[in-house]
Subunit: 173 residues, 2 copies
DNA sequence: TCGTATTTTCAGTATTTACTGAAACCAATG
DNA sequence: CATTGGTTTCAGTAAATACTGAAAATACGA
């Protein structure tokens, strides 16, 4: 009974710590990843103070990263009646998490690249030397590909989980 | 004639600068992204010194990032006979670039996550409380999904460009 | 309205990551 | 086997990023 809750606490702490470490590897700051891990495995929504205590971080840090997670759409604010504090609750459905992350990364990584490539392709259009044509062609190919990726991302993000699975099964037997 | 080569230089510098800035957004260091942009748009392979001069960075920096790009598989070393220097040449085919990046990111981002999730699922197996079961179930779902993503990545990485396009067309009209 | 609980901001500081420049190393050549 | 041209390493430094803690702002209830 107590042993069970100890084991759980240990396993969960391990998950939070490891997920935090992974986060840094993918350019997400450690605290944000830890908070996400914590909330994903929390039975109920947590307050800022609970997050602070659990992870031993400052209020400012907890606050900033909670709000950042809300901005990503991975965490919701929950209000409990008769309580003035805000509570935070993570999306737990893995497919929804995936869609959210994919959409956000597209917005932050793919779309800006597309902008750059379009501009460069345009700026180099009609530079009438072999090098100029090669450069412009390279820009065009990059642009075309990134555009394709962008559209694919949109399509996938619009899928229901079941449909995605079915599709994958069909494709890859 | 001279105007054309000026315009090209300008467009290319712009691309290198912008690609570098984008790089930082996706957790790649700026110099590495800049070198990659430079080599992708270079008519021939460049030496370390040429890279240093073009980007105005130190030898150490140029060297480290060139070798890192080689480690990623995005850049090849070229030797010219009668010349003791090493030259560097980037892969220019967008599909090959994509495959390479996808494979590398899978290795660096997906596989470690899978390891963590498997361990956490295992460690929490059989914790016989409602919270314990919920935690373990969450770990399992994450694991299952990441495994699925991993397999998909492998499949896509094994595709030929033409096949991928065809498939996308079929799927999404 | 005032006092209190809570959230938000931010200047200062700590930590991490990237870069420089020079020394050490290595390999080809006379 | 010494010299030269080139590569690699790395200690020190600069720059970027993350975090703290406390003050300021805001929202609520009496």
């Amino acid at each position: 009974m107590n042993a069970a809750s100890d084991r759980l606490k240990e396993a969960r702490d391990e998950f939070v710590a490891q997920w935090g470490a992974l986060g840094t590897q993918w350019g997400i700051n450690r605290t944000m990843a830890q908070i996400h891990a914590l909330l994903m495995t929390a039975p109920q929504a947590l307050s800022t103070d609970e997050v602070m205590e659990e992870l031993e971080v400052s209020r400012g840090n907890a606050h900033t990263n909670l709000k950042e997670l809300v901005a990503w759409g991975l965490v919701r604010i929950v209000v409990k009646k008769g309580d003035r504090r805000e509570y935070f609750e993570a999306e737990k459905d893995v497919w929804k998490i995936f869609i959210t992350v994919a959409r956000e990364r597209k917005r932050r990584e793919i779309d800006p690249a597309l902008g750059v490539l379009r501009k460069c392709a345009e700026d180099s259009e009609g530079i009438d030397t072999p090098e100029g044509r090669a450069f412009c062609e390279q820009m065009r190919q990059l642009e075309e590909f990134v555009e394709f990726a962008s559209k694919m991302a949109d399509k996938v993000a619009a899928m229901k989980h079941g449909f995605a699975l079915q599709m994958a099964a069909k494709l890859f037997g």
